[in-house]
């Protein structure tokens, strides 16, 4: 089974230059707890969670209007291709304790792969 056999979530992204306030507003509009940061080529370069905003901005008493997404994002991130084997993805996710990975094709982000989908598809095969 490969990544392309899974169901992905439409990319939920923000620009590297977006302020933390803009990122927070985007996050509150969805039930997702993570947002991917993409560069000008729409390639994922980092990820921000709601916890990151709390820990790296609020708790650190920084100004969310001045801070940019690139300043608080977690990086590097794991990016999978459509032909990546799911066993490989699962091993990486489990080792690094990731719950989701970005999926890219031709240098652009095309979706989000959750660990739930990975496990479900590996289980189907087993």
């Amino acid at each position: 089974m490969k990544v392309k056999d899974c169901v992905l979530i439409e990319p939920f992204t923000c620009n590297e230059d977006a302020t933390v306030v803009e990122v927070a507003k985007k996050l509150r509009e969805t039930t997702l707890r993570h947002i991917y940061v993409v560069n000008k080529h729409y390639y994922p370069v980092g990820i921000i969670s709601v916890i990151d905003i709390n820990h790296r901005v609020v708790a650190a008493e920084k100004n969310p209007k001045l801070l940019k997404a690139r300043d608080i994002m977690s990086k590097p991130i794991d990016i999978d291709e459509l032909d990546t084997e799911l066993e490989e993805v699962y091993t990486r996710m489990a080792t690094k304790q990731r719950v989701m990975n970005a999926v890219a094709k031709d240098g652009k982000m095309i979706g989000i792969l959750t660990i739930h989908q990975v496990m479900k598809n590996i289980q189907v095969r087993a």
């Binding site: 089974m1 169901v7 979530i9 439409e10 509009e29 969805t30 039930t31 459509l82 999926v103 095309i110």
Partner: protein
């Protein structure tokens, strides 16, 4: 060569081809594998109709004439060898007649080949020009002038390869056309296979999502439309 024989022999070769084997991964279920094999067979059958059939089914009289000329050429070669040892120079006259017969046979086969060869075949895979195939026999023909063992072997090789060298090229052309078509179709199929994407709308947080306020009320829209 008929369609059934072409499909069977080519299918076996294609299944062992490293490029084609990529599409028969162990992950495939039995049904998927059968479906792919059947697809490959259909492509081979179609290729037979477009590339191979015309050549083999329209050989007609020229094929018999060419075979006759090749045997005549071989006989003239043998006579030439005998005459060389018996009478010296006269042997070369007979051998030249043999070369002439075989060249005429090549001309007939070449004409038929050129008429029916597929025009859209991949140049990189096979020899495109019929004259180039005909020239493959030049060395054998030159060697057949030798009145010794070398000449005998060359003459025999020329006779065996004869028309078969054109047949082989046509079959090879069909084979590579089918392979090319299969790879192209499979690559296209795999490129199209994209994962399903759940829209972000499904994850919308209704508490913080502002409802879209319509510019006009339904009554106003009806009024404007009227």
């Amino acid at each position: 060569m008929n369609r059934k024989k072409f499909v069977q022999s080519s299918l076996e070769r294609l299944m062992n081809d490293s490029d084609v084997q990529k599409y028969f991964s162990p992950d495939l279920t039995k049904e998927e594998k059968e479906r792919t094999v059947s697809y490959l067979s259909n492509i081979l059958a179609d290729t037979y109709d477009t590339t191979v059939k015309g050549y083999f089914e329209n050989k007609g009289l020229s094929s018999y004439v060419s075979t006759f000329l090749r045997w005549t050429g071989a006989a003239e070669d043998a006579i030439g060898t005998y005459l060389f040892w018996a009478m010296g120079g006269a042997g070369f006259v007979a051998k030249t007649a043999g070369v002439g017969s075989k060249s005429l046979a090549d001309y007939l086969d070449n004409r038929h080949y050129e008429k029916y060869k597929s025009q859209d075949a991949k140049d990189s895979y096979i020899t495109k020009d019929g004259m180039l195939i005909a020239s493959e026999g030049l060395l054998e023909r030159a060697a057949s002038y030798d009145p010794g063992i070398i000449g005998g072997i060359a003459s025999l090789a020329d006779l065996i390869r004869g028309t078969a060298k054109y047949d082989t090229k046509v079959i090879a052309r069909g084979f590579y056309d089918a392979k090319d078509e299969f790879l192209k179709k499979m690559q296209g199929y795999q490129a199209q296979k994209m994962p399903k994407i759940i829209p972000l709308e499904r994850f919308r947080n209704s508490v913080y999502t502002e409802p879209v306020t319509p510019v006009f009320t339904p009554a106003e829209e009806r009024k404007l439309a009227a």
